[in-house]
Point group: none
Chain length 234, copies 4
DNA sequence: GATGAATGAGAATTCATTCAT
DNA sequence: GATGAATGAATTCTCATTCAT
């Protein structure tokens, strides 16, 4: 349908005024994506909103796709940075604590600008057809894997790459799908609990992994919990 | 952008000839979606492939969206039926066995026509904007919930609706994402194992839920594992 | 720069109203080419002048080039037919007489619509890049060759294909160039004389080939002419 | 369409550095014309290839047309000089010898850079619309006329201006058309022979003008030929 | 019911040209 | 003199949709 044009920005602006223009264009694109969706983000519309001429848009972006790509890039770079920082702050936390923090962060990030998130995720497959590899996804997975690595022995899955893939995508998807079809879940602490239970139950199926607040002596607690649950379910 | 037209087929054709035409149109649309993607599925193209005139397409479908919607409807109806039948065949199976069967079925279904699945999933959000509620999703969730209900006492989550939501979307998403970015996973039994572990670990976190074939001496081994892990975590 | 699109008309119109539209489009294109030149013949402009929508233009012609091609085709078909008819009327004429008639006809044809002729000739090379072979040119040359064939023994050149090529292009070019840079020549009988002299001198260098009116007994006349000319040149 | 801007270079650069820039621009234009054709020769592209900014291009050339014009000018000036030199070397040669040399030279010149020649010839008409008179053509014709002048008495045509026009354009056109549609002819000595025959037959129709090497006993053979032909024609 | 010709708004993209720095 | 960012009119072409036959 479309000959594959390179999606990378066309030229790196050298003069500062060019940088301003370039930023304005990306920002305008994001705005339109949020307000009116992908189809409304025509290059002319973007130019108009950015307060520049179409020509300027094409000076920096070789196509409409490149434009969306740039927004995506920016958004995902943020996500990556956030996650990196989040993880940096995690030293000393238990796996359970760490997971809860990270899941909460992912939810918060997406809830921050749900519309943009939504539109970008919807366009991802389209972009992937054009870009063979998705360096962002690769780095994200690596991050999760590196997070799991030190816990390798406490954790059931042997294939940490697959585990990272599963965990990352589970959290992403469940956040995303809640966002679009059960927004009420996003504000319910129970949902976070369940996500944590899901991931922890996957990583450490023999532990009781859901009760909050975290107990001190895991062995005893587990036994207790198990008993009490049987009681409840009776 | 677009005035919201009703997406239901325009007329239920009563004559069998008309039914044939209508089917041909849906089939043609599906074909094109699979072969060339959403953008290529122009109404004229569909008409040509279906061997009818554009006029006839508009006789049965009020818009392009209605067309895609019909394909989606058909595809999802199949999925629903499959799941219903799958569940019907489940009587007597343990939760673990049942889950494995169902997960395998979902994977198989999607792998059957990955391209169509992909395109339709990509278009889902677009459709959702037009249809506020997604009756298919509702029924799917109900099905999963009804499946969980009899196991309510063996299972940790108390909010079975949320559990159904989480399980259903987890399996769907992980199948989908594997399809598009890790097709190799689809053929690896280990991936099915992990999905089962994920869901079972969520539903029954205190049980050992992954080893295959299912261990007979689970209690002992579980205890042992638990001990060694506690040791490590100390 | 441009991926090579097929230049043949897109669809043969089946309904008569379509034929009307199609003709109107070609006629409008020709008009614009004549009045404003190639660059002005934008598809929108053509549509406007033809009194149809751009969409209709693209229904029948796959690109702007196809449009010009159609005009060319029509114009050249006329030229071919004219030449065929002209030759049919030639039975019994001597080579000299025949040539004079044909040359006069070519000149007349081009003078008939000089502007159109000019524009089309200018665009020929562009079209040739798109169409590998030029069937019209082939047929024209064959026509000239077939005209020479019966005279093969009266005529000096042995390679009749090359002779046809040379004669045809000489007459064409000299007509064309006169048209664009010496329009005064077109109305001067002397110019026709010279063209005849050129071609005849090429075909039959030993004959005296220019004097008008045609003499009866060629042998005597030739001798006489030769003598008188020497006298003049003295 | 376009307001008629003067086509002469904007400023004659006096500083040598500027001259270098100016040359670089013309050379770049020529290069692009050769490699990618007229449409690809955008001013920005030219600037990039020339290693200057668009602004600099417009410092020296008032428009894109002026740019192409400059290339044309340069190319044609070469042609003119070549012809002048060629003629200067001709003293003592017979008309026949002279013609053969000149024709060969024209062919060689065009074959030297066929692509450039082609592009420029295609653009000639466009340029002519802007420049009413073509001083180059005028000078070329004068040159040919001056060449004919001394032979005025050996030569049939009396209107030497028209003769120059015809000869010049015949040779030019037949070279050009061979270049673009019968490149094989360019390397065949027979083609040169035929061109010579054409021109000589035009200038001196009573002489035998084609046999090569030039016959010494032309009178006898000519007579013989004439006889046999008359016989055939009888 | 069916056809397919016609529509036309609107999309992406280019490129000659200007002008502030 | 030189730069290159910015311009924006203009162009090609598509496609969902309508409606006369």
């Amino acid at each position: 349908m479309k000959s594959s044009t390179p999606l990378a920005p066309r030229r790196k602006p050298r003069q500062s005024r060019a940088q301003v223009t370039c930023d304005a264009i990306i920002t305008a694109t994001a705005q339109i994506l949020v307000k009116d969706g992908y189809d409304a983000a025509s290059t002319n519309h973007v130019a108009r909103v950015a307060g520049v001429s179409v020509g300027s848009v094409y000076q920096y972006f070789s196509s409409k796709e490149a434009l969306v790509m740039a927004v995506m890039e920016r958004y995902r770079a943020e996500g990556l940075t956030d996650l990196e920082e989040g993880m940096a702050r995690l030293s000393g936390a238990t796996l359970r604590e760490a997971l809860r923090l990270l899941i909460r962060q992912v939810l918060a990030k997406k809830a921050e600008n749900p519309r943009l998130h939504q539109v970008l995720v919807e366009q991802l497959p389209r972009m992937r057809q054009l870009q063979q590899v998705d360096p962002y996804a690769v780095r994200m997975l690596r991050l999760v894997r590196d997070f799991l690595q030190p816990h390798a022995r406490e954790v059931r899955p042997k294939d940490l790459d697959m585990a990272a893939f599963i965990i990352f995508n589970t959290v992403e998807s469940l956040t995303h799908v809640a966002l679009s079809s059960r927004p009420d879940y996003l504000t319910r602490e129970a949902y976070v609990d369940e996500l944590c239970a899901l991931v922890l139950g996957y990583l450490q199926p023999t532990r009781e992994s859901v009760r909050r607040p975290p107990a001190r002596t895991s062995r005893t607690r587990t036994a207790a919990t198990r008993k009490s649950r049987s009681a409840r379910n009776r």
